[in-house]
């Protein structure tokens, strides 16, 4: 067998039991922040109060205030939506594009398959972040471009997966039977082939979501992402970097939030994989 290498650290995390509970709690918290940020944090994330700038964490400001006196807690809470949406958007685009490319490669004949898969090989030979940087250079910065760049960098992995799953299903009896029955190819794909690939795709998507979050916030951190004053976590980290020695809380709390979000996603991904492969976590 040829040596294969992992693109995403999509390891099967066998986790201590409390992790499920932890993930559940974190997920509820994150969802609350995304859906009802105003209810979670009373203060406004954009309202400035220069008099109270750079205050440390206190009862009034749990996570302290930033240079303009904005409440860091409110900014972290309100930042959940844009930060997670970029990751989610990137993953959705990547999964959709990966499904299309993978199906096309599996069903489109030899030449199409060769061209698509060789292109995927080349793209996979580049680190995702570097590839995303390259795309942002060409397309220009901005939230949407970062989302697309992160997505494109992730497409090859999904495309390969869908192609492999499709190849397996294509050779199975019921697909052949459906084809023999005279169903249009498109219908066969839609009804029989795609549903079989959905499970693995979702699992990979969950893992990929964590990576997308990290990559997107990395690009924001480099100043290529969300536009201010949107309290996106990566951008907040970037701003807070100038205050490491005077006001550590500006950079530390959004980073912690980002880490917890990725932890949640990784636990969920691990659970999903075990569920799919019919095993139970130890």
């Amino acid at each position: 067998m040829a040596v294969t290498a992992l693109r995403v650290p999509g390891r099967s995390w066998r986790l201590p039991r409390p992790s499920t509970a932890l993930a559940a709690v974190l997920l509820v918290l994150l969802l609350a922040c995304v859906l009802f940020p105003g209810a979670v944090a009373g203060a406004s994330p954009t309202e400035t109060d220069p008099v109270n700038a750079l205050q440390g964490p206190s009862a009034a400001h749990w996570f302290g205030t930033d240079q303009l006196g904005r409440d860091t807690f409110a900014r972290v809470v309100h930042g959940a939506r844009p930060s997670l949406l970029i990751g989610l958007g990137a993953t959705a685009i990547a999964v959709a594009a990966g499904a299309v490319v993978g199906l096309a490669a599996a069903l489109g004949g030899r030449v199409v398959d060769a061209v698509l898969m060789r292109t995927a090989d080349v793209l996979m030979s580049l680190p995702e972040l570097l590839l995303a940087l390259f795309i942002v250079t060409v397309a220009g910065q901005g939230t949407v471009n970062v989302m697309v760049a992160v997505a494109i960098a992730a497409v090859p992995a999904y495309a390969r997966l869908v192609r492999a799953e499709t190849m397996v299903v294509r050779g199975s009896g019921y697909v052949e039977a459906a084809t023999v029955l005279g169903l249009p190819r498109f219908t066969v794909v839609l009804r029989h082939v795609l549903p079989n690939a959905v499970g693995p795709l979702l699992v990979l998507g969950t893992v990929g979501f964590g990576t997308a979050l990290i990559n997107a916030s990395g690009l924001s951190f480099l100043g290529l992402g969300a536009q201010p004053p949107s309290p996106e976590w990566g951008a907040m980290l970037s701003e807070g970097r100038n205050f490491l020695d005077t006001a550590w809380w500006i950079a530390v709390f959004p980073g912690a939030a980002l880490t917890l979000a990725v932890v949640t996603v990784n636990i969920l991904g691990s659970r999903a994989r075990h569920r799919l492969s019919g095993r139970t976590a130890r």
Binding site: A2, T4, P9, P16, F134, T137, A157, G218, V252, V265
Partner: protein, 350 residues
């Protein structure tokens, strides 16, 4: 293969485009060379050639992708090249257009570009006016230093963690797993910021800046190594657990070797093989990671060069770095593939 690593969905095969035939040739070469010595050399040469060809195909693809990206860049290349701070006259602009040949047909530019690549000419940086090759060669040292330091540290951490926790239950193992989960989930740049805050700004144990001396290497290497070590430890532990159940481990124990001795002398060696499957991911993570780590710690290096090039749209440099990454990836994949076959006899008989 042994571990379940390869069965996990995202395990996209990263073998080079021509790797399948190349791999076949290599396997065949291994067998033949053993049996018929006089034909061995020719076979070996062919096997090497096949692997080189595989690398070349990846590079050709990366070069094509990079060229397509350059063409997709909006706006006048001369304006991009000059950047915002300029009072260059129209005559100077014409001169530049002429020298770089921007007015030639795309196909001609593409062929010339490939021709340059074949002759190892990566072009000249738009902004720095230096050959891209020189720039990358200059900056490769600090980056390689950082990447290898991180790799070494990650190996030490992961082997220690795996040896201590494989096949055992209890608090230590749970703690190790929780730690690994946290380590893969933490964004590298934030980890760097946190380490910088604590150890440089508050405790003042390490210098804040640059790349002089070993002291400046510690925090960046730790930043880059921690997430990597978590993944390695996971893989190692799983394959160690598989190996611990094998008869040879039991017989070693029966011969009176201590648990730890068995783990280190027999099981670890056996279990290290699946690590090779991670080489592609590892190369990518280390190379991609240096971009952010170099930014956070203000270190010079290929990552810093890349960022500067991205900010100024210095396409020749960006393209050079893309090619470098692809080259590293393809070469390491091939090398690991060869090593793997040499190390694991089971594969040679396949």
């Amino acid at each position: 293969m042994t571990s379940e690593t390869t069965a996990v969905p995202p395990a996209g095969s990263t073998a080079a485009p021509a790797a399948a035939p190349a791999a076949g040739a290599a396997t065949a070469a291994g067998d033949q060379a053993g049996r018929i010595a006089r034909r061995g050399a020719a076979r070996l040469a062919r096997a090497v050639a096949a692997r080189v060809a595989a690398v070349a195909v990846v590079l050709f693809g990366a070069a094509t992708v990079a060229f397509a990206g350059l063409q997709a860049l909006p706006g006048d290349p001369v304006a991009t090249l000059l950047g915002p701070q300029t009072t260059a006259s129209p005559a100077v602009r014409e001169q530049i257009r002429d020298e770089y040949g921007f007015d030639r047909p795309v196909v001609v530019q593409y062929v010339d570009y490939l021709d340059d690549l074949v002759h190892l000419r990566l072009g000249e940086s738009y902004q720095l006016r230096r050959p891209v090759w020189d720039l990358i060669a200059d900056q490769f040292g600090p980056t390689a230093q950082l990447a290898f330091a991180a790799l070494g540290l990650a190996l030490v951490l992961s082997v220690t963690a795996a040896v201590l926790t494989a096949g055992r239950r209890g608090v230590l193992r749970s703690a190790a797993r929780a730690w690994e989960l946290a380590a893969v989930s933490v964004p590298g740049f934030w980890l760097g910021i946190a380490l910088l805050t604590v150890f440089s700004f508050h405790l003042r144990w390490f210098p804040v800046a640059g790349s002089g001396g070993a002291g400046t290497l510690v925090l960046p290497a730790v930043t880059l190594a921690l997430p990597v070590s978590a993944v390695l430890a996971q893989v190692l532990r799983e394959s160690m657990e598989a190996a611990l159940d094998e008869p040879f481990a039991l017989s070693a124990r029966a011969r009176g070797l201590s648990r730890t001795a068995v783990r280190i002398r027999h099981v670890l060696r056996h279990a290290a093989l699946p690590l090779a499957t991670l080489s592609g991911w590892l190369t990518g993570t280390l190379l991609g990671g240096t971009v952010l780590v170099e930014k956070v710690f203000a270190r010079p290096g290929v990552g810093a060069l890349t960022l500067q090039a991205v900010e100024t749209k210095d396409m020749p440099v960006v393209m050079g770095v893309v090619l470098l990454a692809a080259l590293c990836f393809a070469v390491i994949s091939q090398l690991v593939d060869v090593l793997y076959r040499v190390a694991d006899p089971r594969l040679r008989k396949g």
